[in-house]
Amino acid sequence: MAGVRVLVGTRKGAFVLRSDGRRERWDISGPHFGGWEIYHLKGSPAHPNRLYASQGTGWFGQLIQRSDDGGQTWEPVGNKFVYDGVTGTHQWYDGTPHPWEFARVWHLEPSPTDPDTVYAGVEDAALFRSTDGGQTWRELPGLRNHESAPSWQPGAGGMCLHTILLDPSDAERIFVAISSAGTFRTDDAGKTWRPINRGLRSEQMPNPTAEVGHCVHRIAMHRSRPGVLFMQKHWDVMRSDDAGASWQEVSGNLPSDFGFPIDVHAHEPDTIYVVPIKSDSEHYPPEGKLRVYRSRTGGQEWEALTKGLPQRDCYVNVLRDAMAVDSLDACGVYFGTTGGQVYASRDAGDSWAPIVRDLPAVLSVEVQTLP
């Protein structure tokens, strides 16, 4: 029977949650790397037992761990992230030039076809790639050398490259998102990049429609339709039907269009999920009600999904990398909270139940559907 493996990164370690295809009973292993921040871990689509994890602390810096047995055992691999060539400067919070400094790996994106190839999105914002299973890392410097880069500024959480989407139909095309520079696309495997933020409007910027500077929180696509992108911005939920060349707002009837994650149903490319958060100054759900909102129309028309989720006194957040879907039928949807709960829905969001309630604050959730 098919199974599901949920990979959870937290403030104090990684956890691996396993179930069979019924998704009723879960085995929980962890903490792996107890006491370390695990910003993200993700499995290789080409070899599902190959997992990569980003491990770090403020004391001992960045490590990358690799597993070849689905998370039962791990080996540290390369952790040397050195910017290519002259690092240059970006803007600091006070507007002064600040040299690019490596802080951590926010996101690891394994290649869909080669288990030894994996991309790393890092802070300060840059894209790295390993083609030897994580042993060595090289920057794709074209992004950081973009002419707009000296004007990029960090968001409150740092200047992080947090989202990497590899186009399944075009190996040369990659989308990335940076807080708070915006969304960028390459069509030549990372040599050159262009900002793709037309249509975004951010009132927090002196020029709300500037080409760069937007605080994009997350972008998502359905693999069957890689030209259609969905975005949760600092404020506003957006959609692009032309691979990011232009965007339209699709926040519609959401109670708040601030939030972090956004994801797409595994089998319905126009069914998307967000978790509205009250505001950028409060960072908790409106009215203390934890609600996932689902649109079956690719945005604009949203329905609240509340069954099984706390509908009073709930003040957790759901971070940008903390939502994922499985590809079983019906599609499973999963998300983790800063309160340490991991919620799962076995029916595409109609109802929810916690898999686990008391983990450290959840930073990331990824799901593998296993044969």
Partner: protein, 98 residues
Amino acid sequence: MIRVVLPSHLRKLARVDGEVKVDVEGPVTQRSVLDALEARYPMLRGTIRDHVTHRRRPFVRFFACEQDLSHELPDAPLPDAVAIGAEPFLVVGAMAGG
């Protein structure tokens, strides 16, 4: 033989219990001890000092013989008691937080 005490997180990472012993050829300094340590336990590279600059990470401290040696030059000789193995060289995760 130089005795090195690692903090708990780094002992787990290096998969060692208790003290680590490393051989150092030539002068016994922070740099030579850390070079030997990283040669024997490559997974520690980047966790105590920067990969490229070899600067000590800000929240790592070096103690020995009841002295804080964190701000000594990397090529300054370590105390004789460390060099002859009578006292360990301590790598410490700094106290930080409330």
